[in-house]
């Protein structure tokens, strides 16, 4: 407990620095803006703005605070387009459309927006509190992990990714493998042997992380926007004067708490972020409270559940990223890459070695949550107006921002071709139902995975049995197996039950 309190004191000293405080606010504001724009989710927003944040030359903790603010704000903002347009800003906000949009259509847009802001606030704050309690303990435990345990941890991460993310397990696995393969390009750090560089000097040090991120997320998103352009203009519902009532809060307080808890723990699972969390929370809430069948027709509980969950998951996803160095979602994978660019190795040692970064980030999330609530309640009308920005201006703007970001880092126009090429590749992947998060997770974790495997085998002198020599790794392999089998088994059971019900009818 002492470490937590003194850590938080360090953190708040960093986060309350006027400059960092301003960055939190700026990050939250722009994050909400990006999240509110239909189609642009947190992951694209962070991807497009990361290079610019990097080249501004801030100290690492400030840059990270800014990025986390954007990430956080975007998770908040995603609900605005879900409620007003019935178009989710990102995968995590899909469930919000189910009850949020009916409320807005019933002329209660203001009430829906303010209630969801409160739910988001509670979910987010809940997650940060749990995180500041759990993270140091988890980091303390993770210090005892050897290379073989890390290999097991990676296997677990990819297993939970493959079974919980995306439509097809094989495609998710392939996506992660593509990412891992991309990470092998460049000079091998252990032996100095160049791999897959084909004598091109630009990629001797490996494909730059920023190029992969901006290409796969920013540019691929742009092509998707171009593709969808013809499908008609979006019509935004007006924001009215209605506001959240005490009765709503009373009706949803248990919903919000339950969903926050669900969201946080699902967020912790490696690879599963806000989208899975909000879906599970909505499903659970529907099963528990939907007695009159009002869910899906503008039930406040159905609105509060996914919103609390996806913001709690955003906080939960930070836990494995900060303590183990293994990100819990695509967006935290990008934040992890950002840390690596600042030469900070996230992982158990970070809380001890760079407390100002680790705790500064945690403290900035407390502040960010409050700031978001304050920004969101009165300014929601402004954000709602952003929804009416025509897509034909937004699309070129993404390209312009991406180009500025990439060019200002190295000043090499070849990188601009690289991001466009990767964007085309990413568009095809998305079009064919691959999700992109596994690719980026594989790319970020590739080096760590290989290093630990090789280190483990060096210790054992080439004996593969070291990988299962310790109870920790065996436990993790067991969990990996469980996380693959359990959803498949539950799915089969649900299908069998549905068939029985259909037969009974």
């Amino acid at each position: 407990m002492d470490t937590v309190l003194s850590g938080l004191a360090t953190g708040f000293a960093v986060a309350l620095d006027p400059f960092n405080l301003m960055l939190v606010l700026v990050g939250c504001f722009f994050g909400t803006l990006i999240g509110a724009l239909p189609g642009l989710g947190p992951i694209n927003g962070v991807a497009i703005l990361l290079p610019i944040a990097y080249s501004l030359g801030f100290p690492p903790e400030s840059a990270l605070i800014l990025l986390a603010g954007i990430y956080y704000g975007a998770e908040y903002g995603g609900r605005i387009s879900s409620i007003l347009l019935n178009v989710p800003g990102d995968a995590g906000a899909v469930m919000t459309t189910l009850d949020g949009n009916p409320l807005a259509r019933a002329g209660q847009a203001g009430r829906a927006l303010s209630l969801s802001a409160v739910a988001s606030f509670v979910g987010g704050t809940f997650a940060v509190i749990l995180m500041s309690l759990f993270a140091p303990a988890l980091a303390g435990f993770a210090v005892t992990f050897g290379p073989a345990d890390y290999v097991a941890l990676m296997v677990f991460a990819f297993a939970s990714l493959a079974s919980l993310v995306g439509k097809s397990t094989v495609k998710t696995l392939l996506g992660a493998t593509i990412g891992l393969m991309m990470a092998t390009i460049g000079i091998d750090a252990n032996t100095g042997v160049p791999r897959y560089t084909f004598g091109i000097p630009d990629i001797l040090a490996g494909i730059d992380f920023l190029i992969v991120v901006v290409g796969l997320f920013g540019m691929a998103e742009l092509l998707t926007l171009v593709e969808h352009q013809a499908r008609g203009t979006l019509k935004s519902l007006p924001v009215d004067k209605s506001f959240v009532r005490m009765a709503d809060l009373a009706a949803t307080k248990w919903t919000i708490l339950r969903s926050s808890l669900i969201g946080f723990f699902i967020g912790i699972l490696p690879g599963t972020g806000a989208s899975v969390a909000s879906a599970v929370a909505y499903g659970t809430e529907k099963r528990i409270s939907d007695k009159d069948g009002t869910f899906g027709h503008g039930d406040v509980r159905g609105l509060a559940a996914p919103e609390a969950a996806n913001n709690a998951a955003a906080g939960g996803a930070m836990v494995p990223m900060l303590t183990l160095g293994i990100p819990g979602s695509g967006t935290t994978a990008i934040l992890l890459g950002a840390l690596l660019m600042f030469n900070i190795q996230p992982g158990p040692m970070m809380f001890a070695q760079r407390p100002e970064v680790a705790w500064g980030l945690v403290a900035s999330m407390y502040i960010g949550n409050v700031a978001l609530l304050i920004i969101n309640l009165p300014l929601v009308g402004l954000f709602a107006r952003m929804l009416t920005i025509p897509q034909h201006y937004l699309t070129p703007l993404i390209a312009i921002l991406a180009f500025i970001g990439i060019y200002t880092i190295v000043g090499n126009p070849h990188d601009l071709f690289m991001i466009t090429g990767l964007g085309i590749f990413g568009w095809f992947l998305r079009k064919l139902d691959f999700s992109l998060a596994p690719v980026i997770l594989g790319f970020v974790l590739g080096g760590l995975f290989e290093d630990n495997l090789r280190r483990a085998l060096s210790i054992s002198g080439g004996d593969w049995s070291i990988l299962v020599a310790h109870w920790k790794s065996v436990l993790l392999y067991g969990l990996a197996l469980l996380v693959v089998i359990l959803p498949a088994w539950l799915g089969r059971r649900a299908r069998a039950q549905a068939r029985r019900e259909a037969a009974a009818r």
Binding site: V170, L174, M181, R195, Y196, E227, I404, Y407, G423
Partner: protein
């Protein structure tokens, strides 16, 4: 069908990756039991298995993209490559004005407004990034002589 084609292309790339992993990559001196070649070999094996599975049992069918959308996507890609090509020679301001105007007009903005958007993003973007945030953007090879002469004239 699209799935199969995509998987087949990826398979060819992966086979190339595997061939290199199994033949070319070698450390002159073995430092650790695995060396630089084992990891790519494992990865290529996993990827090939996944790809064969997709080839055997593809899930989605078509891409659901009409010819008009294909045309527009190709145009957008060509524009992006053109933008990248002209980024340094024309400089940020001019290339962004061109790119912003053409793409927004192509996506359905009125011509005058598209021009306004292009000019605004080019000029404002340059001022914001270079003056305010001190970032490095190309001023354009075409204009460099101009800048230099004007600076010489001043000094």
């Amino acid at each position: 069908m699209a799935n199969r084609i995509f998987a087949a292309v990826l398979l060819v790339v992966t086979l190339g990756y595997a061939v290199i992993a199994f033949t070319t990559i070698k450390a002159p001196f073995q430092y650790d039991p695995l060396g630089p070649e084992s990891w790519p070999r494992i990865l290529s094996a996993v990827a090939i298995l996944c790809l064969l599975f997709i080839l055997w049992k593809p899930d989605a069918d078509g891409l659901d993209v009409t010819r008009r959308v294909w045309f527009r996507l190709t145009a957008a890609v060509v524009l992006l490559f053109g933008y990248a090509e002209l980024y340094e020679p024309l400089g940020f301001i001019l290339s962004t004005i061109l790119f912003g105007t053409i793409l927004s007009a192509m996506l359905g903005a009125q011509k005058l407004r598209a021009l306004g958007f292009g000019v605004a993003s080019g000029v404002a973007g340059y001022l914001l990034c270079v003056t305010l945030m001190d970032l490095n953007l190309p001023e354009g090879a075409l204009f460099e002589p101009l800048f230099e002469t004007s600076q010489q004239g001043e000094s």
